[in-house]
């Protein structure tokens, strides 16, 4: 049975993190996806493109919603829908398949979008490469951290007998390992910084 949430409850669940957050996402996705995907399909996109856009937009959406200064002006769905649609149009702008739609006046914009796409792709490749260095155990711990699990919950999820403190130490070790790798590879670090901050 799918637990239902109001917009306020979704925001609260995102802020609480962990299982609350995952459950809220399940509700939000299942409730909203029809209209969100439908909008992209009606606009000439594909289902795969819609899912890519959702994947892309959900991080920004969640991070923004979690903030204290987030003000819900309309519905949460409208906001997420806008985020996904923007992500889709942004990805589409640089898509070669729409090259025929590009006029000479818009050529520079198109080139800029393509460049962004290349940079984004390169950044993604480098990030994936870096994350792969920390190993699956660290990946799991840090993923739980991203999901908003508390240290106590991470310890439970990971099965750490020592509880919260062990989880905290493990997380710290993972982050240090990550940072160490970057420190030991300044070229990658620099490249990543450049790509990330434009």
């Amino acid at each position: 049975m799918l637990k239902t949430y109001t917009d306020t409850q979704i925001i609260e669940a995102f802020r609480q993190g962990g299982h609350h957050r995952n459950s809220a996402w399940e509700f939000a996705f299942k409730t909203w996806k029809g209209r969100i995907i439908g909008k992209i399909l009606r606009s000439g996109g594909t289902r795969e493109e819609a899912m890519d856009a959702i994947q892309e937009a959900h991080i920004h959406f969640e991070n923004r919603v979690k903030r204290d200064d987030f003000v819900l002006e309309h519905s949460l769905f409208s906001y997420f829908n806008t985020c996904v649609y923007r992500a889709w149009t942004s990805a589409r702008k640089a898509d070669k398949s729409v090259l025929s739609e590009v006029t000479s006046e818009k050529l520079s914009d198109f080139a800029s979008e393509v460049e962004k796409k290349i940079i984004k792709g390169e950044l993604a490749r480098l990030l994936d490469e870096t994350v792969a260095r920390i190993g699956p155990r660290c990946q799991s711990i840090l993923r739980l951290l991203i999901q908003g699990f508390s240290m106590r919950e991470i310890a439970e999820e990971m099965g750490f007998a020592g509880g919260e403190q062990v989880a905290k130490n493990e997380k710290k070790k993972c982050m240090e390992r990550y940072e160490k790798y970057l420190d030991e590879n300044p070229a990658i670090k620099e490249q990543l910084k450049n790509l990330f901050h434009g």
Binding site: E26, F29, K30, K33, G34, I59, I146
Partner: protein, 320 residues
């Protein structure tokens, strides 16, 4: 290596778990402290990588949820579509059925009109030929009565011509009558109410009426007809003849003769015999193939909802 507290602080900031006041303070610090800004950038890169990983995992979850919802939707759609399809098929069949029904009705109506037209044309032709035949016969008779001395060669030729014309008309008339006679005597006999057994048929066995009644009861209808016809017109038994002869004629298969007999019966006792006469007239017309008269008679019966032989009128519908 940065201290653990700052590390956690930046982490909270990057994960959006920092209160506004603290966030503003950190952002202000980042603007002035290059080292802090670099540390934030470094941790941001680390978390960005993990976020990408998490986003991929979330994508898997989204797809799983999409499949779950999709399956429900699809199964719902399947049910929905199957209902739609069934409704569509049933509606189609209904429309097709209605179309075929009306088409069939129209076809029957057209056939009926054509048949009526054929019957009317044939009957008109028969009537014209009969009139012509009578006039020719009259002319021939008139000429035949002339004395031989008065007949010259041209008159003889005229007589031969008239005779030939008469023979021709006779042939055509017989052919048309034969066409007209597409009756269904077996069906008429099958549908007819069974003969009523006459009471007191064994009394006064010596009289013609008694013999006729006995023959009637024994199913010897031709014999009964002959015996009924032997009874003089002025005899007191004539009332019985009027009442029984039509049935005897019908059951004897003498439909043409039965028609005027039933009309007479109907006229003689409309209160009691109208319904019987009507249905037997209908069956006589059915038997001798006079469809036009049969239809008229059927209409008379059908219009009477309480007619005791309504079922027979209904049964002959397709045959006339």
């Amino acid at each position: 290596m940065v201290d653990e507290e700052l590390h956690d602080q930046i982490e909270r900031y990057l994960l959006g778990n920092m209160p506004d006041e603290e966030r503003i303070r950190l952002e202000t610090g980042m603007a002035t402290d290059k080292r802090l800004a670099e540390q934030v950038a470094l941790q941001q890169l680390a978390l960005a990588g993990i976020q990408r990983l998490e986003a991929r995992e979330m994508r898997k979850k989204f797809e799983a949820w999409d499949k779950e919802v999709g399956d429900i939707t699809n199964s719902g759609n399947r049910v929905h579509y199957s209902w739609l399809r069934a409704t569509f098929v049933l509606t189609g069949l209904l429309v097709f059925g209605i179309f075929m029904h009306f088409n069939q009705l129209q076809k029957k109506h057209r056939e009926h009109l054509r048949e009526l037209e054929t019957i009317a044309t044939r009957d008109s032709l028969i009537a014209l030929l009969q009139k012509d035949f009578r006039e020719l016969s009259f002319s021939l008779d008139s000429l035949s009565h002339l004395k031989n001395s008065e007949k010259d060669s041209s008159l003889n030729a005229k007589m031969i011509q008239l005779r030939n014309q008469l023979e021709q008309r006779d042939r055509i008339l017989r052919e048309l009558e034969r066409q007209r006679n597409t009756g269904k005597p077996q069906m008429a006999m099958r549908l007819a109410p069974p003969p009523v057994r006459l009471r007191g048929a064994g009394e006064n066995t010596g009289t013609d009426i008694a013999k006729a009644r006995k023959a009637y009861n024994e199913g010897k209808f031709t014999q009964a007809v002959r015996l009924f016809q032997l009874i003089p017109a002025a005899a007191p038994e004539q009332a019985q003849v009027t009442q029984l002869l039509p049935y005897a004629l019908f059951y004897a298969g003498m439909y043409d003769e039965a028609v005027p007999a039933f009309i007479k019966l109907w006229e003689s006792d409309p209160a009691n015999e109208a319904m019987n006469a009507q249905v037997f007239l209908l069956l006589c017309y059915l038997a001798n193939g006079d469809k036009y008269e049969a239809r008229l008679m059927r209409m008379i019966i059908i219009q009477q909802e309480d007619h005791k032989y309504l079922n027979i009128a209904v049964a002959v519908r397709d045959s006339i």
